[in-house]
């Protein structure tokens, strides 16, 4: 009686080649936008195309982008870390304190990275150990970390850093290529490989799409999320070293509001704020776009407050755009069919 077909039917691996998919992707749209801004800027100001000006402009985004790479993974996994700017402040304070006590550059770097990791570990433990929502935890630790920095510094500032410490924020690897730019490129490659080519990256996507099913598939969800918070802490520590070195001083208000710029960068890069999808090339492009816009505004003497209005609008726009587009395309599909 039973006549279930036992001959397996052929199922192709793919219908669309990865290249065909790329053409229609968010990333290719970002490339077009980046080129458009680049061309507009070069017409708007005669100073834009100067290599040294461009090199200077890269400082607008390199430090934030370092954090954005780790943040992209956190958001893809369905979590968020809003304490990154506060981690920069606390890390910078720790380094400034150590510098005043007479420690030299290698020790300062070690303290910076360790403080970042420590803050990340606190976030990670609260989220995975106690199972608290990361948005609440990191809003809490945001106040905690920056508050600690305020208590230590008050209205003072640490300004006595060793001369060799200046290299991270002011040094050049070769010609116009700064240390920060080089670090940005290396971090982009490392995070790109980590997210797109490793088992770890696959687990991050699986968790972001369905954490329960990922757990039921043997993915160690808690462990991976903990590592992700360690990574954002580490990258915030790294960014803090660069920023402190570049400014040569630490105030408790350092990097105020950066968490929103970092999240904007990640979301502009095509990472779904609800988790599950996104790419590192997208975040790299978003960093370039935001850097160029900031630079362009600077050349045109647009005041800083306008810039933050722009960032706010951009954040809302890039979150709304895919949702509105999805709704419209469904409506078109409905009425066209």
């Amino acid at each position: 009686m039973i006549s279930v077909e036992q001959t397996a039917r052929y199922v192709p691996d793919r219908l669309k080649s990865p290249a065909a998919r790329w053409v229609k992707s968010w990333e290719s749209l970002l490339i077009v936008v980046a080129l458009a801004i680049f061309i507009t800027n070069s017409f708007a100001s005669p100073y834009f195309l100067d290599p040294w000006n461009l090199s200077d402009a890269s400082f607008n985004f390199t430090e934030k982008a370092l954090i954005a790479f780790a943040m992209a993974l956190v958001i893809i996994s369905g979590e968020i870390d809003l304490s990154v700017a506060a981690i920069i402040a606390l890390t910078s304070t720790a380094m400034g304190y150590a510098a005043q006590a007479g420690f030299d550059t290698p020790m300062l770097v070690a303290i910076g990275l360790a403080t970042g990791l420590g803050c990340g570990a606190i976030n990670g433990l609260l989220v995975t150990g106690l199972g608290l929502p990361s948005i609440v935890v990191t809003i809490g630790t945001m106040s905690l970390f920056r508050g600690t920095s305020f208590i230590i510094l008050g209205d003072q500032a640490f300004t006595s850093y060793p001369a060799s410490f200046a290299y991270f924020g002011q040094g050049y690897v070769w010609w116009v290529f700064s240390f920060e730019l080089a670090l940005f490129v290396v971090a982009a490659i490392v995070y790109g490989l980590l997210l797109h080519k490793t088992n770890f990256g696959r687990a991050v996507y699986a968790i972001g799409n369905n954490a329960t099913a990922a757990l039921f598939s043997g993915i160690r969800v808690g462990r991976i999320k903990f590592i992700l918070f360690l990574l954002t802490g580490l990258m915030a520590g790294m960014a803090s070293i660069c920023l402190t070195s570049r400014l040569g001083s630490t105030r408790p208000s350092i990097a105020l509001g950066w968490e929103l710029e970092v999240v904007t960068m990640v979301v502009l890069g095509g990472v779904n704020i609800l988790g599950g999808s996104g790419s590192i090339p997208g975040v790299v492009l978003a960093a370039l776009i935001m850097g160029m816009v900031t630079f362009g505004f600077g050349l045109l003497n647009v005041p800083g407050i306008v810039m933050s209005i722009f960032i706010g609008l951009l954040l809302i726009l890039v979150i709304a755009l895919p949702i509105v587009y999805g709704r419209l395309s469904r409506r078109w599909a409905r009425s066209a069919a």
Binding site: V4, A8, R334
Partner: protein
């Protein structure tokens, strides 16, 4: 016969004619007709993917049809929104009822159409009183002021039905209402359907269970591949005829049980207990054996299986695999020990919707398809191809989002994922729940094949024919305890039901 003449004389409550609906690349419905009569239950049958859900969504205003007409009591209508459909008197009760956990029963019944006072506020006194009356009318003993969260699935269905009555629906769609219900609850539901019939409602009843269809429905409509392929009176058809119409070929409810050679014990569970869910679970599973776990919904079977798989911690108990003590604290440890679990809640716990098919298949086997932590795309596709082909997966490509597949094919992806880990023990929790009859037979055939290859299978099922048809041995659980053990030869439906319900054993049976 008498029934036939009455229904054909009565004017239809709702008539659908020439309904078509396409999605990009798929023709979900083509030129479908359906007629529902007041005071009559029409069963809509068809395999998954036959277009039943699409039709329900058109009837409830969620999709707009590409063509065709809908008439209610003779007048042409259109449902641009879900609200319009509900205003026109069409309501649906879904398999997983969409209600609000944190609102009270009365609020759930009246949400969206609550009566207002003169000042525009909700008239709570009236709402509560009316809710109480509606619940009483359908014989439900539910306090309208308690929160929905505190009700079981069966009672939630009753609330949904009360809601349907509260909007004075003329057409009630019941989309697999019994999928999650126990035996007794199903019985109560069918009494309720009788009441709705008596109240003159036109009912569209969607179910995969034939015994129910023949008990409850008056008429039937069969869909296959988006077309209507047959309709008529239930009294003038047979199960075999319906199945033939559904699949377009002969698939008997014959279980493809192969007698596998049963070997030495693979898994031994001793003294497993949990503070609230189950206690004192002891059993042995042998190589090549299919061990059935039968019981009512809520008997603690899934909870026990998930604890065996490392999702929840037992408070005591020991597991041996091939005679060695195994420590299982997480699913990844269970997988490493060769125990895998195909969960009942496919969409929530089984498939990672949003990821493509091949990535779902390789998810627990990332070590196999990578070198030093770096994934090898070619190996991934090779592994996915091998195991999806074994299960005869129907898909456009392996790169397709698993969420776009039908329930049966999603289940095949989940099973393929586990086979790729080369397990010793596979636990299947309600493996054929809510999947179409063709996929069902494929899953059964496959289960038999796995046992024949020396895998040990634990099959949790609430469907007696499936248990009797497939299992070598059956353990019955009730309220968290093992209350019966049966060998294949002694299996009868009556013994299983008695043990599960705690009615006491058939004379001569030790429980």
């Amino acid at each position: 016969m008498l029934h036939d003449t009455t229904t054909s004389r009565i004017a239809p409550a709702i008539t659908l004619e020439g309904i078509s609906k396409s999605f990009p690349g798929v023709r979900a419905l083509s030129d479908v007709s359906l007629t529902l009569y007041p005071g009559s239950v029409t069963a809509l049958v068809g395999e998954n993917g036959a277009g039943k859900s699409t039709l329900v969504k058109i009837l409830t205003g969620i999709y707009k049809p590409d063509g065709g007409s809908i008439r209610i009591n003779g007048t042409a209508v259109s449902f641009p929104t879900a609200h319009a459909a509900s205003k026109a008197g069409v309501t649906a009760i879904h398999q997983e009822t969409v209600l609000f956990d944190d609102l009270s029963v009365a609020e759930n019944i009246f949400i969206g159409h609550a009566p207002k006072t003169r000042f525009g506020f909700v008239d709570w006194a009236f709402v509560n009183e009316k809710a109480r009356a509606l619940l009483k009318e359908i014989g439900a003993d539910i306090d309208p002021s308690i929160r929905l969260r505190d009700l079981g699935i069966a009672n939630r269905h009753l609330v949904a039905i009360a809601r349907a009555l509260s909007i004075d629906a003329q057409v009630v769609i019941m989309d697999e209402p019994t999928a999650a219900l126990s035996h007794k609850e199903i019985h109560e539901l069918s009494e309720l359907v009788e009441k709705l019939k008596a109240a003159g409602k036109a009912i569209l009843f969607i179910s995969h269970k034939f015994d129910e269809i023949f008990r409850i429905a008056d008429r039937y409509t069969v869909f296959r591949d988006g077309r209507m392929v047959g309709e008529g009176l239930i009294s003038q058809t047979t199960e075999d005829q319906l199945v033939r119409m559904m699949v377009g070929r002969d698939v008997g409810q014959v279980f493809p049980k192969k007698q596998a050679e049963i070997g030495e014990p693979v898994l031994t569970v001793a003294g497993y207990r949990h503070p609230t869910e189950f206690e004192d679970i002891n059993f042995e599973l042998r190589r090549g054996e299919i061990l059935g776990f039968y019981g009512l919904v809520g008997a603690g079977r899934s909870e026990f299986m998930q604890s065996l798989f490392g999702v929840t911690k037992p408070s005591a108990g020991a597991v041996r695999i091939d005679g060695n003590i195994a420590v299982i604290r997480t699913p990844s440890e269970a997988i490493a020990q060769g125990i895998v679990y195909v969960p009942e809640e496919r969409g929530r716990q089984g498939a990672v919707i949003g990821l493509p098919i091949f990535q779902n298949v390789t998810l627990p086997s990332l070590g196999q398809v990578s070198r030093k932590g770096f994934l090898r795309m070619a190996r991934e596709f090779a592994l996915a191809r091998e195991y999806t082909a074994r299960l005869d997966l129907r898909a456009a490509s392996l790169d397709q989002d698993v969420g776009t597949l039908s329930g049966g094919n999603q289940q095949k992806v989940v099973i393929a994922k586990w086979l790729a880990t080369k397990p010793k023990v596979i636990i299947l929790d309600e493996p054929t729940k809510g999947i179409d009859i063709g996929s069902k037979a494929a899953v059964h055939a496959f289960m038999s094949e796995l046992a024949a290859e020396g895998l040990s299978v634990i099959m949790v099922s609430s469907e007696i024919p499936e248990i009797i048809g497939m299992a070598d041995r059956v353990i019955v659980m009730r309220e968290g305890r093992i209350v019966g053990r049966f060998e294949r030869e002694e299996l009868t439906a009556e013994r299983l039901v008695r043990a599960a319900a705690g009615i006491g054993a058939v004379p001569g049976e030790g429980a």
